[in-house]
């Protein structure tokens, strides 16, 4: 009995130590990535290429999801608001929920699925096929050549994607609310302009999306870089990227919301 308890305790301790080690490796890795960032000023082309694969190729899913989320918000919000005779406020409901929450969060979740997984898989495969060691052999630093551009592209692309998501969503809400349900377009926009604050709402949403982009890009490149160099290792790294990014984004969103709007 005692021995069994000891085994369990040892397993728990091993797990805790491994988790702590991973966290430490991740932090050191992040510092090394940040350290490699200034070198990118000499080679902006690397970041542009990554912005294409991380940002431009994610546009389709972001625009389509944003439009549909906005339209659903318009439909659902209208059903609730019309009961109070307050359907003029539909624009505020759509715009506030998108700018404050759904824009940054849903865009980050889609970003993790679309771009984060592909980043992790790409870097993981590079490691598995020993391209990263090959680079080191040729005195090319993989941190500044491979990791840093991908990280920076993720951090830069995320706020832009979230903003596009919000704008397309408001457009979707407008299309449903004004086009389909007959809300007055003037009231729709004037209520939005009246109730949405630039600093309180828009700027805080942008801050959120920057934080999410930072975390999503960090997790993706770290999982790829830290994976076991086998096909199973790449598989697990990709899965973990999506799961950990989603959890981190949702958890951080609660913390940030509490800090920003909790008072």
């Amino acid at each position: 009995m005692l021995e069994w308890l000891g085994d369990r305790l040892a397993a728990l301790g091993r797990w805790g130590l491994a988790a702590g080690q991973r966290l430490g490796r991740g932090t050191l890795f992040l510092l090394a990535t940040l350290w490699a960032l200034p070198g990118l000023l000499l080679r902006p082309g690397l970041v542009v290429a990554q912005l294409y694969s991380v940002g431009v190729l994610s546009l389709l899913i972001i625009v389509v999801s944003g439009g549909f989320v906005g339209m659903v918000l318009g439909l659902q919000g209208y059903n609730t608001l019309v009961g109070f005779g307050a359907e003029q406020s539909l624009g505020v409901v759509v715009a506030l929920s998108l700018v404050r929450e759904l824009g940054p969060v849903v865009a980050a979740l889609l970003f993790a699925g679309r771009a984060g997984s592909s980043l992790a898989a790409e870097i993981g495969l590079m490691k598995a096929t020993e391209q990263l060691s090959g680079m080191e052999m040729m005195a090319v630093d993989p941190m500044s050549r491979v990791i840093a551009p991908r990280f920076l592209a993720g951090v830069l692309a995320m706020p832009l994607l979230a903003a596009i998501f919000s704008v397309v969503g408001i457009g979707g809400g407008f299309a449903v609310g004004v086009g389909l349900l007959g809300v007055d377009p003037g009231a729709f926009w004037s209520q939005i302009q009246d109730k949405v604050d630039v600093f309180e709402d828009v700027a805080n949403g942008v801050i959120k999306s920057v934080v999410f982009g930072f975390v999503a890009a960090w997790i993706a490149v770290f999982e790829g870089y830290d994976c076991r160099p086998t096909s199973e290792g790449v598989n697990r790294a990709t899965t973990r990227t999506v799961v950990h990014t989603s959890l981190a984004v949702l958890g951080l969103d609660f913390v940030l919301t509490a800090l920003m709007f909790g008072e």
Partner: protein, 153 residues
């Protein structure tokens, strides 16, 4: 080479679209366009009850928004609420004996300060206090009075 140029153009379009979206959120979908340049003047008004009035509630004359509520404080000595009104500088010809009331737009709408111009010759200036004020109507008090009057009949 042609391929990398295409990538660069697409990335440029993406960044431009993202920045345009941010610009749209800031200018069209929020209140940045209604922020004044800060060159307005400030007057205060005392109310017995401000109801649901908050900072950034509109200040209107004849239904036109001329400013915003800049701050709400409570005066411990007079037991009144002191509301600071930030009025845009182009509306500096309001008479000195302008009165202020707190109204609600619609049945469930937001509350705002309505200014009623008086007849004095000299205009309101920065730091002045509006003397004549009317508090917001609290629905519960109205209902209470109504029931009380009914009971008295």
């Amino acid at each position: 080479m042609g391929n990398s140029r295409r990538v660069e153009i697409l990335v440029g379009l993406f960044v431009a679209a993202g920045l345009a979206a941010l610009f749209f959120l800031a200018m069209k979908a929020s209140n940045l366009s209604t922020y004044d340049a800060g060159d307005g003047f400030e007057v205060t008004a005392r109310f017995d009850n401000i109801g649901g009035l908050t900072v950034r509630s509109p200040v209107k004359v004849a239904g036109v928004t001329v400013g915003r509520v800049a701050g709400v404080e409570y005066d411990m000595e007079t037991f009144q609420a002191v509301v600071r009104l930030d009025i845009e500088s182009q509306y500096d010809q309001l008479p000195r004996d302008t009165s202020a009331s707190i109204f609600t737009s619609g049945l469930l709408g937001e509350q705002y300060v309505a200014l009623e111009p008086g007849a004095a010759m000299e205009p309101l200036a920065d730091g002045d206090e509006i003397r004549i004020t009317q508090s917001s109507l609290v629905l519960e008090q109205l209902i209470g009075q109504f029931l009380y009057n009914k009971a008295a009949e």
